[in-house]
Symmetry: C2
């Protein structure tokens, strides 16, 4: 496309940086669910969106909702989340909302309504419960969770009793989420954009080895029941499973040894497992193998072990018709996009079973969930060109499911 | 020997249990340096010792000192420590003091003075500084440590300025420490007593692997710099080094992964190493091998690693003449003792360079540093018989170095 998106891309990046200044922790970007700086983020977005003519509101879950159009036509949702992990980067989540603003600013006349959505919670930091915003939007926030978060909702000036009204409109016919890739795949292939075909199946488990705490100086090897040594052996098995299984992501990210004294053999060790694959079956098989492996290690060492599966999410396919339109838009706008599986969960995973959903990945570098996270201006321009083409093409040809 | 020590042994065990009731934590035995329950321990011991005719005082480091005799003769020190780890057993340390009381109660006329010592601090829990009591007794408490602990000393009603007077008398010619073995060696060999020939050389180190934190769902194996996986591989090497090196104790007791989130590959992992051997050279060689191994793991994985040696204590030999007397006393009293190396540090390790020292180990079961720690009445009787024989034999024949 001939339109030059570079100044719009610069503005998007500047806006992400500006919104990143609204943080709970001076010097770091940390903005958890309905924390005070979220008010400032809402105020800034409200200003930009109202200048586009959108009607802006905050729903009972704290999601920012900005509707452009009369409200009675098929609706394209565009957005991502506004919260961050502790000590985050400036682009994870919020880039997708800021790009939605830029698309509204460029939109002109459309045959459908557009709603830009800034989900209030995706990372799960404040309550250990992820996807609060998008789950509220599809009516999947259970009463227990609502009870847990209702004080925070009221403190923010909202009313938890109005949660049912947070449901997205039945007129919603498509959801487009733009998000940084987070992983290094696009960076390593030197590609600016990816279209997501599916979000990987993911299981989370906690493994506890129970041995016997004993004195580190006086207990010979043959008499040890060292729970930490067992856990470390198992972490090695996790790594091997990943290397041996194409496409598998398997990570032990947290470990603790108890009592955790330098001169005491650990009597108990706990490790976490995060395991993902585009195929739910492959994920499940790998998890079963690692569970068997934990039992074998415990048996050989005379320990006890427990493996608790804490969550198991199926693979979530993106809508294939929408994804084809997005891929075509990317190519037409001059930046063909890689079809890829997302290892990370995203709001689109929650919305997909309820609203046809598609995701555009933007190459990022410097990692994600860290201050070094960054995007290139020309990649953001490519994402804007692709998103705008997707929107205009859908306006001309009609949204696939509208 | 024909004397029956069983009722004295029962009394010793009952006294240990009574003193265990003086604790900072209801329901658990926790008595750190100069904590309030230490006053109660001092009061009980003072009563028993004064009934023996001993002159009892508390020195500026909080050590209980009980002198039997005119004070101008060669002096036999008998004792151990009064503090505990958190959630401790009832015998570690205090058994050696209570046995000293029982030996005074049985003593009769002696040719030397006896001083029962209850060291105020050995475990290093309150300030992370072990052996405060015994180091004060040999004049090795540096000004920095004294400054750190002076408020605790004053709160306990003592005067840190009087620390120089805590030095043991130049007349001290021998130190006998009776202590539970802590390890399982005597238990596994079905032997009640051991005499300690040396306390193992010990090094403590901290190993830090530095990789890159990254998203657990989106970072393929080939692009990971997983610090926790590296640390776990190294913990496996620690375990193998122990199995392959006779007499080596090597333990990773504490490990942390940062950021420590279940869905983030650890960018940094820290593990501790506690490594001991009767030979300082073997200890040093093993430590060097494990340091090399850490560097090799880091190199192969593209990580950084640092190995910080935090302490390195040489092997400490017990006094051979005194130890021969103790071994002879054990045999003569009907319970030959195993000559063995102590993997654990003890107050005798601090005193040995200054006063000829010897140690008697009593079989324990149920572990040590835990509530299940226990001793058998007949083993305590054997230790009493041995200690009494050692004392009376030394009184008849003269202390070896007096």
């Amino acid at each position: 496309m001939s339109r030059d998106w570079s100044s719009a891309a610069r503005l998007c990046i500047a806006r992400c940086r500006e919104l990143a200044s609204f943080t709970e922790e001076p010097g770091r970007i940390t903005r958890t669910y309905l924390s005070p700086p979220m008010h400032h983020v809402h105020r800034a977005l409200r200003g930009w969106l109202q200048r586009c003519g959108a009607a802006v509101s905050i729903d009972a879950a704290g999601n920012l909702r900005a509707l452009l159009g009369p409200g009675n036509r098929p609706r394209l949702l565009i957005g991502s989340h506004l919260d961050t992990v502790p000590n985050a980067g400036a682009f994870d989540g919020i880039l997708g909302v800021v790009l939605g603003v830029a698309m509204l600013e460029a939109a002109g006349e459309l045959t459908f309504d557009v709603e830009v959505v800034g989900f209030s919670e995706e990372e799960g930091v404040r309550y250990g419960i992820p996807f609060i915003g998008s789950r509220a939007a599809v009516g999947l926030l259970d009463q227990g969770t609502i009870a847990t978060i209702s004080a925070a909702i009221r403190d923010f000036g909202l009313d938890p009793a109005e949660m049912p009204a947070a449901r997205i409109s039945p007129k919603a016919a498509a959801f487009l989420e733009v998000h940084i890739e987070q992983g290094p795949v696009l960076e390593n292939l030197d590609l600016p954009l990816g279209v997501v075909t599916a979000i990987a199946a993911q299981s989370r488990a906690e493994i506890v080895f129970q041995g016997s705490a004993a004195h580190a100086g006086t207990t010979p090897a043959a008499h040890r029941k060292d729970a930490l040594a067992a856990a470390c052996e198992w972490v090695g098995a996790v790594e091997r499973a990943m290397v041996e299984t194409p496409g598998l992501m398997a990570t032990a990210g947290r470990i603790t040894a108890e009592p955790g004294a330098r001169n005491v053999i650990a009597g108990r060790a706990t490790a976490t497992l995060d395991i993902r694959h585009a195929s739910g079956d492959v994920r499940t098989e790998a998890l079963e193998r690692l569970t068997d492996c934990a039992h074998a290690i415990a048996l050989r060492r005379g320990l006890d072990v427990s493996v608790e599966i804490q969550s198991a999410a199926p693979a979530t396919a993106m809508d294939s018709a929408l994804t084809d339109v997005l891929a075509a838009a990317a190519a037409a706008s001059g930046t063909p996009a890689l079809r890829m599986v997302s290892g990370a969960g995203h709001d689109a995973m929650i919305l997909a079973p309820h609203v046809p959903s598609t995701m555009l990945f933007v190459r990022s570098s410097g990692g994600s969930h860290c201050p070094e996270e960054s995007v290139r201006e020309r990649d953001v321009a490519a994402a804007l060109a692709c998103g705008f083409e997707f929107m205009m093409r859908s306006s001309r040809e009609g949204l696939p499911h509208a």
